[in-house]
Amino acid sequence: MVKEEIQKKDNHNWEPKIVAFLCNWCSYAGADLAGISRLQYPPNIRVVRVPCSGRIDPIYIVKALQKGADGVLVSGCHPGDCHYLTGNYSARRKFALLKNYLEFLGIEPERVTFSWVSASEGEKFQKLIKEVVKGVKAIGPAKKLVKIESQRFEETIGGSS
């Protein structure tokens, strides 16, 4: 994050930015359903669509926090419902370790959230986002792992490609 952006975080009307990794087959469709059903939820999330929750390397989550995300949400299919049969079982083990580990190091447990949302659970998705945003707002802006950069991230890697 560039300095000006970090200073903005101290502003009283600060709104958290939350990166949401959603699995293509369940949670992304669940978010879609929430949209189609006109279910309102806070606009603080930035969705990254991934093929499966098992696709998420823990480094993505840590990197998102480093790049200035105030929270990270990971959501996939319910155990047993994975499109790739066992992707979320493997993911569950990784996330169980990561969640404990980040908390062990001293990162607030509200920063990183894991959940299961199926394609038919639009309402659950709405509730989940509300809860996550509420949790992150309560602990305030992320500062612990955030990197202060002189340039914007997009400039350093040469665009979005």
């Binding site: 569950r92 996330f95 370790l97 062990f104 001293g106 607030e108 959230t113 894991f114």
Partner: protein, 336 residues
């Protein structure tokens, strides 16, 4: 020369003469007192250089992996009938054999590629602790006798008890004897099957508040000079392209910003999750004394408690992150 060394040399000589091994990885006397450096011998005449004492602190399976990998690469361009098979012997104590098991679980090499010469281990010393004890004086000479370290400095000769200067990982060791071995040297030593103090550092740390823990982590990481000695000493860090050096995408920035160093430590620790055998090689290799083991131990503890897995104890068992159980605990999942 101690008793084990004598048998070790005899065994090594026999293995070379019977043409059971093409190379033996062991230790020889280091150039500095109270040190030992890895030794790679291919001839039976060289076995006299082999030593085995508490200064042998490097985890040799790192080299085993490297040599076997390098040999396999060298054979890929040859015709199948010209290819040579090589068997590498390795002098291994408890934690080294555990690392070898982890390598085999990850299909890095097969059982036939190696020959394990198992030796019992009474622990390895942390030379930094000895240096701290003698203060500014230079250690001129040192040797081991029974369970004592005899240190000779420019001013005096001192006899130090070995157990006070053991590496931190050896204090809570539960695996002093080799887990697997083809040839065994010496008698197995007594070992605790379960050490209650094993995760004491983790439990104590967890009693602190989030901010205190973060401060401690930050203080430790601030010391780090990013020499990557911990990665280079770790037998598990064998990836051809480590995430540190990857540039597309560039995970770890090449800045002096502390968050980059933190990212390195968090990710490297996570990459050893369920695989770390707690040999302490990373902590011994660290030139600035970062408390790396405390952060690795937490993952070991979780793997044991959540998935009932201790790395490198059973060749048949899969590493916890490469398998799953439908009844795995999921109390960390948010259900709105």
């Amino acid at each position: 020369m101690n008793h084990i060394e004598k048998i070790l040399r005899e065994e090594a000589k026999r293995l070379f003469e019977e043409k059971k091994i093409d190379m033996l990885i062991g230790f020889e006397q280091g150039t500095l007192p109270l040190t030992a450096t890895p030794l790679f011998i291919t001839k039976s005449e060289d076995v006299e250089r082999l030593v085995w004492n508490p200064a042998c602190s490097v985890n040799l399976s790192k080299y085993l992996h490297g040599i076997l990998h390098w040999h396999r690469e060298s054979q890929t361009r040859l015709k199948p009938e010209q290819r040579k098979k090589k068997v590498i012997g390795i002098v291994a104590n408890g934690c080294t054999t555990r690392s070898i098991i982890v390598h085999q679980q990850e299909n890095q090499y097969s059982k036939d590629d190696i020959l394990i010469v198992g030796v019992p281990c009474i622990g390895v010393i942390d030379i930094k602790k000895v240096q701290k004890r003698v203060g500014d004086e230079e250690i001129i000479d040192g040797s081991f006798k029974d369970e004592k370290i005899i240190v000779k400095t420019s001013k005096r000769t001192e006899e130090l008890p070995l157990e006070e200067f053991l590496s931190d990982s050896c204090v809570t060791c539960i695996c002093k004897n080799p887990v697997i071995s083809d040839v065994t040297v010496g008698e197995p030593v007594e070992q605790a099957s379960d050490n209650n103090n094993e995760f004491l550092t983790v439990e104590e740390f967890l009693k602190k508040s989030h901010d205190e823990r973060w401060e401690y982590f930050k203080k430790q990481v601030e010391k780090c000079i990013r020499c990557y000695a911990c990665r280079n000493a770790c037998p598990l860090c064998y990836c051809k392209d480590c995430f540190i050096e990857q540039t597309k995408p560039k995970w770890v920035g090449t800045t002096d910003d502390i968050s980059d160093t933190m990212l390195f430590h968090i990710t490297r620790a996570f990459h050893t999750a369920g695989r770390c055998v707690d040999c302490g090689a990373c902590a011994l290799a660290c030139p600035v004394g970062v408390d790396i083991r405390r952060f690795l131990k937490k993952l070991n503890k979780d793997c044991l408690e959540l998935f009932h897995h201790r790395a490198g104890m059973d060749l048949e068992k899969k590493s916890p992150l490469s398998t799953y159980d439908t009844n795995d605990p999921q109390n960390f999942i948010t259900e709105p």
